[in-house]
């Protein structure tokens, strides 16, 4: 067990986006978070990453309580994320985008960078090497010096995931990674996530509406419906679950 949410509730004004939700994610699991639009999935991510504070309940990561921590501290504890709409640093190169992920791992001070101390060069060399390795892993090393936003959509997704991996996370949160991709591209992405889990020793928590993708990829899914849990278990069982079909899948799922 790596992440545990205990009775998490989030209210916006009068609206309850998440209502007393509890679930646990095990180490190296690919865990899917699905549910109708507005069910509170992204909100859940934001609570885990510290962007929102839960109105009630606890978030425990590797037996440490995350409530109240700043988002950048939570990243350093090993939770990285991507966004529902790609959010790369648009004026920066692919390489620099990934290097930002190494920001807190490069060990030199501000002063050392101004006056170019030896440690600066050593550390820069080290993180650049690692960055290239990651880019290489995703097959985008050749674009290292391109502006990130000049890349195709699929490649930008990869940069975003690479950037998240650069923070050396134990857990990766992906918000609709396959959105805007066609089925062929989606398939490639699923493959990539699966291998990355092994190679980077990751636990993955993802949100996705593409059921085919979820089915292929996830070990377990949690179905949220306007704040409450309606199903937790294998994706293949979720498809058959009456309540899930009624609330989320509709007839469309049978394709």
């Amino acid at each position: 067990m790596i992440l545990e949410l205990k009775g998490v509730t989030k209210k916006f004004g009068g609206v309850t986006a998440i209502n007393n939700t509890t679930f646990t994610v095990n180490s190296k699991e690919i865990y899917g978070l699905i549910g109708p639009n507005g069910a509170g999935k992204t909100t859940m991510f934001n609570i885990i990453t510290g962007n929102y504070q839960a109105t009630d309940g606890e978030v425990v990561f590797r037996s440490e309580k995350l409530n109240g921590l700043k988002p950048h501290t939570i990243v350093r504890k090993g939770i990285a994320r991507t966004f529902q709409n790609i959010r790369l640093f648009k004026t920066m190169s692919v390489m620099d985008n990934v290097l930002i992920g190494f920001d807190f791992q490069a060990n030199y001070t501000y002063f050392e960078s101004i006056f170019r101390f030896p440690r600066f060069f050593g550390e820069e060399k080290r993180i650049r090497k690692r960055a290239i390795e990651i880019l290489d892993y995703f097959g985008i090393a050749e674009f290292a010096e391109h502006k990130a936003t000049d890349l195709s959509y699929g490649q930008q997704r990869k940069v975003e995931i690479a950037r998240a991996l650069a923070t050396n996370p134990a857990m990766l949160l992906l918000d609709e990674p396959a959105a805007g991709m066609n089925p062929a591209e989606t398939k490639e992405l699923a493959h990539l996530i699966r291998t990355a889990r092994e190679d980077f020793d990751l636990t993955v928590l993802l949100i996705e509406h593409d059921m085919k993708f979820v089915n292929q990829l996830c070990d377990k899914v949690l179905v949220l419906d306007y704040g409450k849990t309606i199903f937790e278990g294998k994706p293949s069982d979720a498809i058959k679950d009456k309540e899930v079909v009624a609330a989320y899948l509709g007839d469309f799922a049978h394709d």
Binding site: N37, T42, Q84, S152, A179, N182, P183, E185, Y248, G250
Partner: protein, 231 residues
């Protein structure tokens, strides 16, 4: 209904669409499919004169080349833009009101029609659109586009980010709109679903039309299956 000849779209030095010709016949659903960056969005924007372009576009016998976006909308073209783009600081109802900006007399009636189509947004009608979930925003964007009672409705990836059930509903609604006589030009990543409800389809690749044909036939096409349907 709309007839496009030799359309090019430019972003500075980049040529995103490289000379395509196609047409959409009245009463039909026509799909544009293709991978990311193929130029689909650019094509739709070009039909509304919203980007720098060259080429001939004829809409119901009317040459659109020298007309601004807003006057084309007034003539019956309507676009559901990629990424929804609802007015986040207006309420849901005001968003609909914006859609009916030039269609005051039918506002009340159409509003109720939209609430009928998407009960979920009716519940939220006084909420700021910015606080809706992604899917709710998509529903709002579609209804907003319909508020001007367009002759040709263009949808740019309407299923993006929607729950499967809603996706199904959206496609159902698109079919229903067709039955009501609205011509539809549909851009989709979800090629399968798009082709199933379309009459005709074009495949865009790198800014050029790579293939075209009757939609039903395309689902069976091996190349299409491999490239766009994932298996």
């Amino acid at each position: 209904m709309i007839n496009v000849k030799d359309l090019h779209v430019y972003y500075g030095l980049i040529e995103a669409v490289k000379g395509i010709s196609f047409e959409v016949e009245e009463g039909q659903i026509v799909s544009l499919i293709g991978s990311n960056g193929a130029g689909k969005t650019s094509t739709l924007e070009a039909l509304l004169n919203n980007v720098k372009k060259t080429g001939e576009i004829n809409f119901s016998g009317f040459d659109t080349v020298n007309h601004k976006t807003h006057s084309l909308v007034q003539r019956g073209l309507s676009l559901v833009p990629e990424g929804r783009r609802v007015f986040i600081n207006l309420s849901v109802e005001d968003n609909l009101r914006m859609g009916a900006f030039n269609n005051d007399e039918n506002y009340e009636r159409l509003k109720d029609v939209m609430y009928g189509l998407f009960p979920r947004i009716k519940e939220k009608r006084l909420q700021m659109a910015g606080t809706l979930s992604g899917g709710e925003q998509q529903m709002l964007a579609i209804s907003r586009a319909l508020m001007s009672e367009p002759k040709l409705l263009m949808l740019d990836e309407p299923s993006l980010g929607l729950a499967p059930k809603i996706v199904g509903e959206v496609f159902e609604i698109i079919t229903r709109l067709k039955e009501e006589g609205i011509t539809i030009l549909l851009v989709e990543q979800n090629a399968f679903a798009a082709l199933r409800i379309s009459d005709y389809a074009y495949v865009l690749e790198n800014g050029k039309i790579a293939m075209q044909g009757i939609a039903k036939d395309m689902i069976g096409d091996d190349e299409i299956r491999k490239k766009y349907l994932g298996g």
